[in-house]
Symmetry: C2
Subunit: 81 residues, 2 copies
């Protein structure tokens, strides 16, 4: 049994309207210390069987095929066996 | 200048239809090793000024007031000064 985490972020240069909206709202609330904010996705995945290497390579495949959009998004994984 | 990360997850017991849909789709693609999947949000925040403690407490306030919905979501932060 392994607990994995997947972090999906927009690639640099890809516009993030949700982040810009939150940034503006925070400034309006007086949080002037916020310079920038970008929004991504975070997934907690429970996996069974296999060693860490296999699980990580399978999870990478899942990201490429379904969880992320590799054209506009980057992803990063952490697998704790 | 500090780089902060915010992880927002649905509280236990709160239904996650997006996670369930991804889980089913992964199973249909043959990824039977996936036991469970929950989707949350991940934010990268650039902050200026203040020490780590102040920035963390301000960021916690931003989560409570705007970034997360504390009724149904938990949040966790990492602040690297």
């Amino acid at each position: 049994m392994a607990d994995a985490k997947v972090f999906i972020t927009l690639k640099e240069g890809i516009l993030d309207p949700q982040g810009k909206t939150l940034l503006r709202a925070l400034r309006e609330l007086g949080y002037d210390e916020v310079e920038d904010l970008r929004v991504g996705k975070y997934m907690e995945v429970k996996l069974t069987g296999g060693d860490a290497g296999t699980l990580e390579s399978r999870l990478g495949e899942m990201c490429e095929r379904l969880l992320a959009n590799p054209i506009i998004e980057d992803y990063r994984m952490e697998v704790d066996v």
